[in-house]
């Protein structure tokens, strides 16, 4: 699609990547650490956008998939290290999240809209409760310390996170623009008509759940081995899920790339305003609210300006 909109998107993307590539030369390890987390969060938000923006499934619990991936990887490492390579743990985490995605998709085939949204929320609460109750296995409320990390070098971690975000972003974006992305969008808009056009809506939606879960789980598992711990408050809490949703909406729904921009913005702003203490959260929330109220197409919508859908 060589249209104006796409080219704008392309330039924004390219500029962001260039800035990200030269950044390690100029900024401190602390900032790199922050961006590492932001990049993983960006993958969370992009995965969510695929499910909601394209397949039209209101998933209020993105942290269910992330949490399953993160905790599976973390628990395996905590129990079998050093016998088990962390890369195997990460793969297992991604796989577990895919299984979680299929489980989550089951209610989506029966109920839709707000009702499905509610089941995803319940899924998060159930996972959270399970982690707290099974403290022996999961570390409970205190969190799970994993013996291994990918690297202790801030730059290495930064490059891994950046590379991971770029590859995931390219795949998710490509998928959203492919034939499958179109069918997904058609199914999300009008399920009955998509069926009457000969598309197996169930199959396509299930695929969207699987892909979204895979990247969510993979990102969650990678982040565990960056942080060295897994805790409910960073991976599972409903509040974290809300942040991810806000990031995706703030950046621009149904764009994939917007979700990444939104996530980096949210985490960056949170940090910039940190000296203000509790006020920081409030200011970021107000900005998010204003953007959502007045620019429902998010940052990318603002940048695209006149090129409205």
């Amino acid at each position: 699609m060589p249209s104006f909109v796409t080219s704008r998107l392309f330039w924004i993307g390219a500029l962001t990547v260039i800035v990200a590539l030269v950044l390690p030369t100029y900024v401190s390890g602390y900032v790199l650490g922050l961006l590492t987390v932001a990049y993983y969060t960006a993958v969370f938000a992009m995965s969510w956008d695929l499910l909601f923006g394209f397949a039209g499934e209101v998933n209020f619990g993105p942290t269910f998939l992330i949490g399953v991936g993160a905790y599976t990887a973390g628990i395996l490492d905590a129990h079998f290290s050093p016998g088990l390579s962390i890369w195997l743990c990460i793969a297992a985490g991604a796989l577990a999240a895919v299984v979680g995605g299929v489980v989550l998709a089951l209610p989506a085939l029966r109920v839709s809209g707000p009702y499905f949204g509610l089941t995803t929320l319940v899924a998060v609460l159930m996972l959270q409760n399970f982690i707290v109750v099974a403290a022996g296995l999961t570390g409970g409320e205190i969190g799970l310390a994993v013996p291994d990390v990918i690297s202790i070098d801030a730059k290495t971690n930064y490059w891994i996170a950046l590379g991971f975000m770029l590859v995931s972003g390219a795949i998710l974006f490509g998928l959203s623009r492919s034939a499958i992305g179109l069918i997904l969008q058609a199914s999300g808009q009008d399920k009955i008509q998509a069926g009457a056009l000969g598309f197996n809506v169930t199959k396509h939606k299930l695929a969207a759940f699987v892909v979204s879960a895979f990247f969510s789980g993979l990102a969650g598992a990678l982040m565990v081995f960056y942080m060295g711990t897994a805790s409910v408050s960073t991976f599972v809490d409903v509040g974290v899920g809300v942040q991810i949703i806000i990031a995706a909406v703030l950046g621009g729904r149904r764009t994939v790339i917007g979700a990444a921009i939104g996530a980096i913005f949210l985490i960056g702003m949170g940090e910039l305003l940190r000296p203000l203490g509790e006020l920081a959260t409030l200011i970021v929330s107000v900005i998010a609210l204003v953007v959502i109220l007045f620019f429902p197409d998010g940052f990318l919508g603002i940048i695209r300006g006149g090129a409205k859908a």
Binding site: G174, L175, S178, A179, I180, L182, I183, Q185, A186, Q189, D190, I192, Q193, A194, G195, A196, L197, G198, F199, N200, V201, K203, H204, A207, R254, A309
Partner: protein
């Protein structure tokens, strides 16, 4: 009609039944369509024609019966399988992809149902362009659906449905919302399907709208077939005429000259309403005298509700509406209601979780206690059943009781003009009689002015002093009820 018509049927539906809980929407329906034949499936609102169509497509799963396409059983299959076996449905309303162009929207319909194919075949683009050209979308191929004219949106639906070259094409209300010249264009496109040797099923409200196009018509009422044959035969059919026009009429109409007001109380002057791109009302003029009972009859989608909403100030319109000589244009809905115009909408809008009594008292909110009590007493006289139902929650009432409550609540507001929008919608015949008696008493015992919108002529005519026929957004006939069958039946059947 072509020679292929003599061949074996392509679609054979037999004993089709669809039940929703206790409601039997389609009852033991059988019909067939040959290749190169157009069958019109007609029936008033709620007759089950849409359910029958959806059951063929697999959108609804038939409760019983068989649907065979070229001898292969379709009943019970999911719609995507049925679509791939050669059935296409042209939706009346759909939600096209707003961010993709017309071309891309058509391309979607050409994509394979496979997860392994990330990119469409190379010929998809050329095929999509050819389809766009064929249905007349060639000029708008790079536009996005929200910028399209209404007729072009319908063309897009047609394009998507034919993209997979279905053997059997189902078309839901082919001409709804289209202008005369657009209707001609669409008729040509549908004739092309027939000339290609496809079987076509047109679903519509009445025979007239599809008579020029169809080879055969099947009329449905309350889920069952009531007549089948050539369009002209079905229009002459006794049962069809009774369903659409009602039986012998005992008119009690008062002549217009008997109303003493020189300037009618309500004057609707050249009112037009646009819904996005669809013309919902065009140049509608009518008047109602003080104390007169006027019925506006028209099929579903003719524009009755839109007309009433315009009078009540709920939709913006062009032209003018005058009440007691004063223009209502620009007035808020609340101000118009305070001026004495109260609408009882077809959706009833009762407060479901409040009791019958509470609903009524809310209606009489503006009255003094004594006045309210007196009014309640009068309404319980009019609708005795409501007296016994006072403590019951409104949503637990039967459909007929809910309708009576809705009318009673509107009357609590002491309207000067009562607008009743389709009060018979979804009600059983026995309830209609009760409702009918209540309206009779209302007419005989009060000076209230009533504007009634109905598609059920049997119900609308006996009460009316004067009748307007609304068809495709326009008033096409005006006169006393006893001349309706002779003069207006042809536009209505």
């Amino acid at each position: 009609m072509s020679e292929t018509m003599s061949g074996a049927p392509m679609l054979e539906v037999s004993g089709l039944t669809k039940r929703f809980g206790g409601l039997v929407a389609v009852k033991n329906l059988s019909f067939s369509i040959r290749p190169g034949e157009i069958l019109g499936l007609i029936g008033p609102n709620g007759s089950g024609k849409s359910t029958a169509m959806k059951s063929v497509m697999g959108v609804e799963r038939p409760t019983a019966g068989s649907v065979k396409l070229d001898g292969v059983e379709l009943a019970g299959l999911p719609s995507h399988r049925i679509a791939r076996m050669g059935v296409g449905l042209v939706f009346q309303h759909s939600r096209p992809l707003a961010r993709q162009t017309v071309l891309e929207n058509i391309k979607v319909a050409l994509l394979p149902d496979k997860l392994t194919r990330l990119f469409a075949d190379k010929d998809v683009d050329a095929r999509a362009r050819a389809i766009a050209e064929r249905v007349g979308l060639g000029g708008v191929i790079d536009r996005r659906p929200p910028t399209l004219a209404f007729a072009d949106l319908r063309r897009l639906e047609l394009a998507k449905a034919v993209a997979r070259s279905p053997k059997l094409v189902l078309v839901d209300e082919p001409f709804a919302g289209l202008t005369a010249s657009e209707v001609a264009d669409f008729s040509d496109l549908i004739r092309e399907f027939r000339d290609d040797g496809r079987a076509v099923l047109l679903v519509d409200h009445n025979v007239k709208s599809v008579s020029a196009l169809v080879d055969r018509v099947l009329a449905m009422y309350l889920g069952e077939r009531i007549a089948e044959g050539k369009a002209s035969e079905v229009m002459q059919d006794e049962t069809v005429r009774r369903v659409y026009l009602g039986g012998a009429l005992v008119s009690t109409a008062r002549p217009e000259a008997s109303f003493k007001d020189v300037t009618p109380a309500l004057q609707v002057d050249k009112v037009g309403v646009l819904y996005g791109k669809a013309q919902a009302l065009q140049d509608v003029s009518l008047h109602v005298h003080e104390g007169e009972f006027v019925s506006v009859v028209g099929l579903n989608g003719a524009g009755k509700t839109t007309l009433f909403n315009a009078i009540s100030g709920l939709v913006p319109y062009s032209g003018d509406v005058k009440w007691a000589g004063r223009s209502l244009a620009g007035g808020t809905a609340a101000a118009i209601a305070r001026a004495g115009i109260v609408q009882c909408p077809e959706t009833r809008e009762l407060f479901g979780d409040m009791s019958v009594r509470e609903n009524l008292e809310l209606g009489g909110n503006a009255l003094s206690d004594a006045e309210r009590a007196e009014r309640l007493e009068w309404l319980f006289g009019l609708f005795p059943i409501l007296r016994t139902r006072q403590p019951q929650l409104a949503r637990t009432l039967s459909g007929g009781e809910q309708q009576m409550l809705a009318i009673a609540r509107a009357l609590m507001m002491k309207p000067k003009l009562l607008i009743l929008d389709e009060p018979t919608l979804g009600l059983a015949p026995v309830i209609l009689e009760t409702l009918s008696k209540a309206l009779d008493r209302l007419r005989e015992t009060t000076k209230i002015t009533v504007l009634l919108g109905e598609q059920n002529v049997t119900f609308a005519l006996p009460h009316a002093d004067r009748v307007y026929v609304l068809d495709h957004a326009k008033i096409v006939w005006e006169g006393p009820p006893d001349r309706f069958e002779a003069e207006a039946a042809a536009t209505y059947l």
